[in-house]
């Protein structure tokens, strides 16, 4: 791709010879060593940029990027994604009533019907999405105690100062402390398939395997003690202010998903990068027989235990269903960006080619910067 001239200026072998020739006194001689390094004659590869090597580079980049982009775009388009906003801003939307109440603790249920035009094959991921929720605000991000979450006994009873003002409540240390934990997303989503005959069936949602392995097994650990009875372990602490129930009751049926290692909690604690984000909520595993799609086309109903207030800050809550591929969820941006950059490179190559043919040979003396 690039013409090169490998100027192998061989190292002088005279170094030792010249020193010896100088006689015994030459050991003190100030004569510099005749080495390639000191004489700046190191062998070096000097890429020589010529029009013949540079212009093809643009086309090559373009020709690599555009197919990648197309591949990514196609892959992304093959992913089925369905998104529904259940915030209830509209007065006639089912959750409007629930959204009116501004409280963390009053439970209110509503159901949002929707229909899938196309079946969702294979495993389907179910996300919840929040908008305008600044989970990346610096003081919010800092407001946690990783030591406590890692099961440190002393941090459990004496959480870090960073957790203020969610550090101590009712003169007891809060576990888990901090603003992130306190604002844990606590809507409960359930999905029903509505058969054409009107009867409906609950679609099983898997709630484990949604957190990173490292988070689940290393980063988050319950405090040492009796694992079966977290109540005792957490007895000197209190629940976060906004929570309905203490941390040891997040999933009382499954000790492996209870306390700090509750996966919904772990997912929430991995803060989002942007104010509008989505987090994995549940996985709908494909049918064992593999014959019928995981989510056939038809009507569904999303049952929501509406707890999480977002109306105060114009927030939105969404539920997203998505099949996945090797590149995760649906992501048209990456493919389009690749295609765009590849095209720009191609275009630049053409422009430079034209310039080269028109002006290249006349303008001889322009000095080459760099």
């Amino acid at each position: 791709m690039m013409a090169s001239s490998y100027t192998a200026k061989e190292e002088d072998g005279h170094h030792s010879g010249s020193a010896a020739a100088g006689g015994p006194g030459s050991s003190k001689s100030k004569k510099p060593d005749n080495t390639a390094f000191k004489q700046q004659r190191l062998p070096a590869w000097q890429p020589i940029l010529t029009a013949g090597t540079v212009l093809p580079a643009f086309f090559v980049i373009g020709l690599i990027f555009i197919p990648i982009g197309i591949g990514l775009f196609v892959t992304s388009n093959n992913i089925r994604e369905f998104e529904i906003d259940y915030t209830g801003v509209d007065t006639n939307s089912p959750c409007n009533r629930c959204s009116q109440t501004y409280s963390w603790n009053i439970s209110c249920t509503c159901s949002v019907p929707f229909s899938l035009e196309q079946p969702f094959e294979s495993n389907v991921f179910m996300y919840y999405g929040l908008s305008n929720f600044y989970q990346n605000h610096r003081r919010y991000v800092k407001s946690r105690d990783d030591s406590q979450l890692n099961g440190d006994k002393s941090s459990l009873t004496n959480p870090s100062k960073e957790c203020e003002p969610y550090r101590i409540s009712e003169k007891k240390p809060i576990a888990p402390c901090g603003a992130i934990a306190n604002s844990l997303f606590n809507d409960t989503l359930e999905l029903y398939y509505i058969y054409p005959n009107g009867s409906r069936t609950l679609i099983p949602l898997v709630k484990k395997g949604i957190a990173w392995w490292t988070d689940k097994h290393v980063k988050f650990r319950n405090p040492p003690g009796n694992n079966d009875n977290l109540t005792i372990t957490f007895q000197d602490t209190t629940k976060p202010v906004n929570w309905h129930k203490p941390v040891y009751e997040l999933d009382p049926n499954d000790p492996d998903n209870n306390g700090f290692i509750n996966e919904d909690f772990i997912v929430w604690m991995r803060t989002a990068a942007l104010p509008t984000f989505r987090k994995l909520y549940r996985i709908i595993q494909k049918n064992k027989d593999n014959m019928t799609p995981t989510l056939p086309r038809g009507n569904y109903s999303l049952e929501i235990a509406y707890n999480y207030p977002v109306r105060s800050f114009d927030g939105r809550k969404r539920m997203i269903l998505s099949t996945i591929s090797w590149m995760g969820g649906k992501n048209p941006f990456l493919g389009i960006a690749y295609i765009t950059v590849g095209s720009v490179c191609f275009f630049l190559g053409v422009v430079l080619l034209i310039i080269h043919h028109k002006y290249g040979n006349r303008n001889n003396n322009a000095d080459i910067p760099n």
Partner: protein, 1141 residues
């Protein structure tokens, strides 16, 4: 008595008291110091150029380093980071680079200081003899105290400022070489006060010196080298003292066996140390520009921080208060106060945009460039074993930008060795300048010392046959007509001359059999081909720069009276008697000599009758006795005698140029460097050398005197020099010739022409249109003024080169000072920024090292600013998405390590190894040097481009990953790792694009950076660190998950390619637009061919007689002093008349 002394001394300002042999008087008053407090009166003789003591090192070095704005800024940042409310980054993030910088800098200072201590110790340990009660005992310089009496032997360096008490020479004269003080190599004489001479030489010297209890009252120590006022009080009498009685520290005793002196000023009080002043720290244009850039960056940073803080306040007010969680963690502070706190938070967060490690890396690269200069074997001079040396380590890139070279002449362009090469006697030219024949067989001459570079057997044959009276007379004239003093060493005569020309001539005469043996006040002894003859010396008609000739009037052994005269050709030719033979052939010879750039002198003789002598000697004594206008009257009398001369011949002396000077100068001229020669020499000599070293071509027209004055004073000059050419001076010249001019100006004219700044501006403007400028007869101070003039009136970088102490001023004033470590003392080198052994090495220093340095440093700076700003600016874009909360985009460790580890090595390799073209090609194509003079590679425009580019890159670095991640469920830490990865990749790819010279080190550095990035990501995000410090290594697991995600990789690759696309496009564009001529440079391997400039046009006859600036020894000769002769009883001042009978 003492009381009276004090009162009288207070009136005259002489308050410095020195008591001989009285240690107990001076000791208590010794100067002592503690920290910065000093008390006491008399300094000791220790040289202390070091700055630190073990106790003061730490505070002093910290103090010095925090005077640098950047370091201080970062100290503030560190302090701010300790305030929890505004600490957006942990304190160690800034501390780490800052500590690195401080430690490296401190280590460097410490090393240089240790070096200074070593060299101080070397000087302080030099031996000398001090008089104690046990007689003279060997001691060291550091032991010398005020009031001691010292014994100095021949060729020793004087350790302190001494009052000469007596010497072993007649009249207690002694000769000193002052090369280290004023650069003049000719000897100066000093004489002891009459009283001490008389009293102390009347018996065994030690016994007389021991009870010597004279008291000297003199001025307080000062730096005036040519002035000293004092009184010696001894035995109830006082005697005036002046500079003629002083031996200054640093001078070397010559031609005198032993002198005894009383120490007056020691150490830092001595005149030379008072004079050397404090060393000005030179800053390059680049560094000053860089400082401005840094200030600009700080200002921008503050502005951005302010805007973001306002954003923060608004966000907190409009949005933050509605989100319950955010409102809760805001605490009780108002939004405005939050904004205020975030202002400081943002300053901390954006501070990585300030390139703190830039300064230290900049320095490191400078040091390596300096080492490379010292390592260059092609700038190593075998003869005195001197490699090139860079003494100042911050000026390298200016070597690539030199616009004006101001050079000393003697010892710099010329070797300061004059060689008798040819002569013309009676119309015959002897000697050949080109042919290399074997040396003459001079074994018949027992006085021959060798060293004659003259090989014409015909002349020797003719001399030995004694059949050509003019030839014999010619050499008699050479042996007689001079003011040289002889000295016997190993049975051979050695000569001491005030003028190197005379020495060359007398030596040549000696080699060819006319040996000047000795002189007394009134006689000269000469051995002519083995026959010793005595000539009676009647009068010496001394040289002066106005007369441009000198003569002696002698009575020959056979009783005749003869006047031998030698001088410049014009002067002699017009004083020849009518019908003098060989006139035409002599003139032809003169032209021939001039073509070979030889320096000519005409030698002539006149037979004087007794009557004429009687009459003339009467006139002479009348003139000598005159009280007013004696000089002019004497000149008139001399004029009467020096007429009706008969031409004997012409000598041709080569003022040998240093090796490669013409080639170097022509090469530098092609490179666009304006060469100015500043010399203390006379105009003729300077012009002569100017032609010889190709400073001017043979057809160059000289602008001097009145013509120059008119040109400068004409009102239109200011507008344009080109316009003048029609109207005034250039009317006859064609356009092509307009640059074929050189300005020749002497010191007085120069002072007059540059009186006002405006005129100075015109002068420099005019000079820029000319080939070169020659300034003759300028004083050392004026040399510095000229440099100042050029600096003030042109934007170009000035470089001064010289070898003597008289160039020190100039060297210190210029942007870059180069000292030649030649024969003369080391003063120039001591004060220079670069030391070379040869003038010709300048070509390599500028065209190769300078050019490379400039390119490397420009690339380095551009890249460095790019990589730091583009990485830090990302925070601004992220602020738009995180509620202006100063949330960092990166992990804090990444911020600390990015500049120090991930991106520093490749750019250092670039700054050290980069070569656009090879050294040979650089020398072959001096015109490539102009890039640096025009500052094409780093200027405000380029800088703006670089900053725009880095803003673009930061936008790409942020928005592409965000665009990708916003539709995925990836978290903040994954985004951070993606952006980090993209940033490191972009910075690396950019350096890959910039590097054009890939040595193994470059490759290793690039690989190392990438490997270190991944390795440290993995380590810093490892479970071990997290479990130990869960609250510090919160990124645990992030990189492992991110690296396993193909989307992250695809995003990073896309981001990187997009980020550096503009750089690649610009490079491609320049490649496409420039015809591919680089390829040729690369492949050209043939050795440098020096173009011959030796095309002779119309020869200009150049004749001169170079004398040192002083008047020479003529007067001393006739006074009979310093000549071992019949003991003349001369006391006090003897008028010339009495000595001339």
């Amino acid at each position: 008595m003492a009381k009276r002394d004090t009162s009288c001394s207070e009136e005259t300002g002489m308050t410095w008291q020195v008591r001989a042999n009285c240690q107990h008087f001076h000791k208590p008053l010794g100067r002592k110091s503690f920290l910065c407090f000093r008390w006491g009166r008399y300094a000791d003789n220790l040289v202390r150029s070091y700055k630190y003591s073990p106790l003061t090192f730490l505070p002093l070095t910290l103090y010095e380093q925090f005077q640098r704005a950047a370091n201080f800024f970062f100290l503030l940042i560190v302090v701010m980071q300790c305030v929890p409310l505004i600490a957006t980054l942990p304190w160690y993030i800034t501390m780490l680079p800052l500590l690195t910088v401080l430690i490296m800098r401190g280590a460097k200072d410490l090393l240089t200081d240790l070096g200074r201590r070593r060299s101080d110790a070397k000087i302080n340990r030099r031996p000398c003899d001090i008089l104690t009660t046990q007689g003279f005992t060997a001691a060291q310089w550091k032991d010398v105290c005020v009031g001691d009496i010292l014994r100095i032997h021949k060729d020793q360096v004087i350790p302190a400022d001494l009052l000469l008490l007596c010497s072993t020479e007649p009249h207690s004269l002694c000769y000193v070489e002052t090369a280290d003080i004023d650069g003049e190599t000719n000897l100066k004489f000093r004489q002891a006060p009459a009283i001490t001479h008389d009293e102390l030489t009347s018996g065994p010297i030690e016994e007389l010196l021991l009870p010597f209890d004279g008291v000297v009252w003199c001025e307080e120590p000062n730096g005036r080298l040519y002035l000293f006022r004092g009184e010696l009080h001894w035995r109830g009498q006082s005697h005036l003292l002046d500079i003629e009685h002083m031996l200054l520290r640093g001078t070397v005793l010559r031609n005198t066996d032993t002198v005894y002196g009383l120490v007056i000023y020691t150490g830092s009080d001595s005149k030379i140390l008072r004079n050397c002043g404090s060393l000005k720290v030179k800053k390059t244009w680049m560094e000053r520009f860089l400082n401005k850039v840094v200030v600009t960056i700080v200002v921008c940073l503050l502005t951005v921080a302010l805007l973001l803080a306002v954003g923060c306040g608004l966000f907190e007010h409009w949005v933050g208060s509605k989100i319950e969680v955010l409102a809760a963690i805001r605490g009780s502070y108002s939004p405005a106060y939050r904004g205020f706190l975030n202002f400081w938070g943002y300053i901390i967060l954006l501070s990585p945009a300030m390139p703190i490690s830039l300064y230290i890396t900049f320095e490191l690269i400078h040091v390596v460039h300096c080492l490379q200069i010292g390592w260059d074997i092609k700038m190593y001079w075998e003869e005195n074993e001197k490699p090139a040396q860079a003494r100042t380590t911050s000026l390298n890139e200016e070597l690539g930008q030199v616009g004006h070279l101001l050079s000393d002449k003697t010892g710099t362009l010329t070797q300061n060795r004059l060689i008798f090469r040819q002569c013309c006697i009676a119309g015959h030219i002897y000697g050949d300048i080109t042919a290399k024949t074997k040396p003459l067989d001079l074994s018949w001459n027992r006085f021959s010392c060798g060293g004659l570079q003259f090989s014409d057997q015909r002349l020797v044959d003719r001399l030995l046959q004694r059949n050509c009276p003019e030839t014999l007379e010619f050499f008699t004239a050479l042996a007689l007509c001079h003011t040289v003093m002889s000295e016997w060493k190993d049975g051979l005569p050695r000569y001491q001359a005030a003028s190197p020309d005379e020495e060359a001539l007398v030596c040549a005469a000696r080699e060819l059999g006319w040996v000047f043996l000795s002189r007394t006040r009134d006689s000269l002894t000469v051995s002519e081909l083995g026959f010793t003859l005595h000539y009676h010396l009647l009068a010496v008609l001394d040289f002066s720069s106005k007369r441009r000739r000198m003569s002696v009037l002698v009575r020959t052994p056979d009783g005749g009276l003869k006047l031998y005269c030698k001088g410049a050709d014009v002067i002699i030719l017009e004083r020849l008697r009518k019908g003098s033979p060989h006139q035409e052939s002599t003139e032809q010879a003169l032209e021939a000599f001039a073509q070979s750039c030889l320096r000519t002198l005409c030698v002539a003789v006149r037979c004087v009758s007794e009557a004429q002598w009687m009459e003339w000697s009467h006139a002479l004594s009348q003139a000598a006795m005159a009280t007013t206008h004696r000089e002019t009257m004497l000149e008139e009398v001399y004029e009467q005698m020096e007429k009706e001369l008969t031409m004997l011949g012409v000598t041709a002396i080569e003022d040998r140029l240093q090796e490669g000077v013409p080639e170097t100068i022509s090469s530098l001229r092609q490179a666009g460097v304006k060469v100015w020669v500043l010399t203390g020499d006379k105009t003729e000599t300077a012009v002569n050398v100017g032609y010889a070293c190709k400073l001017m071509d043979p057809d160059t027209r000289l602008l001097q005197g009145e013509e120059l004055r008119q040109l400068l004073q004409s009102p239109t000059t200011e507008v344009s020099f080109h316009k003048d050419k029609e109207s005034l001076v250039w009317s006859t010249d064609k356009m092509s010739q307009k640059s074929k001019a050189a300005i020749v100006v002497d010191g007085f004219e120069l002072a007059e022409l540059t009186k006002t700044p405006e005129m100075g501006g015109r002068f420099v403007a005019l000079s820029n249109q000319c080939q070169s400028v020659l300034c003759c007869r300028v004083t050392p101070a004026q040399k510095a003024e000229v440099v100042e003039l050029v600096k003030k009136n042109s934007s170009s970088v000035t470089m001064a080169i010289g070898d003597g102490a008289n160039d020190v001023n100039m060297i210190k004033t210029a942007h870059i000072g180069v000292g030649l470590c030649g024969v003369e003392g080391g003063q120039a080198v001591q004060n220079a920024d670069f030391a070379l052994a040869q003038f010709s090495f300048l070509r390599r220093l500028l065209l190769v090292h300078g050019r490379w340095s400039y390119r490397r440093i420009c690339s380095f700076l551009r890249y460095f600013l790019y990589k730091t700003t583009c990485f830090a600016l990302v925070h601004i874009w992220y602020s738009l998405y995180n509620g202006f909360s100063a949330q960092p985009m990166y992990e804090s460790w990444f911020i600390a390590l990015y500049t120090v580890m991930y991106t520093s090595l490749p750019v250092q390799c670039l700054g050290i190894f980069e070569q656009d073209i090879s050294a040979e090609s650089s020398l072959n194509r001096p015109e490539l040097y102009r890039v640096g003079q025009k500052q094409e590679l780093f200027n405000p425009l380029i800088l703006c481009g670089t900053l725009l580019y880095s803003i673009y890159t930061s936008i790409i670095l942020f928005f592409i990953p965000v665009g990708v991640l916003q539709s995925l469920d990836l978290d903040y830490q994954t985004l951070a790792v993606t952006v980090e990865m993209s940033a490191v990749f972009s910075a690396t790819l950019e350096i890959i694009l910039q590097t054009r010279f890939w040595t193994k080190y470059n490759c290793a550095a690039v690989l190392f950076s990438l490997v270190v990035f991944f390795l440290s990501s993995v380590i810093l995000h490892s479970p071990r660190l997290f479990t130990s410090f869960p609250n510090d290594y919160i990124f645990f697991g992030a990189s492992l998950n991110a690296f396993a995600n193909p989307v992250v990789w695809l995003t990073a690759i896309l981001t990187t390619c997009t980020a550096v696309l503009p750089s690649f496009t610009v490079q491609a564009l320049s490649v496409v637009l420039a015809k591919n001529n680089k390829h040729k440079i690369h492949s050209s391997k043939e050795p440098v061919e020096l173009k011959s400039w030796f095309n002779r046009g119309v020869p200009h006859r150049r004749s001169s007689y170079a004398m040192s600036q002083g008047k020479g020894f003529g007067k001393l000769m006739t006074l009979g002093m310093g000549v071992r002769s019949t003991t003349p009883s001369l006391e006090g001042r003897v008028t010339p008349a009495t000595s001339l009978h």
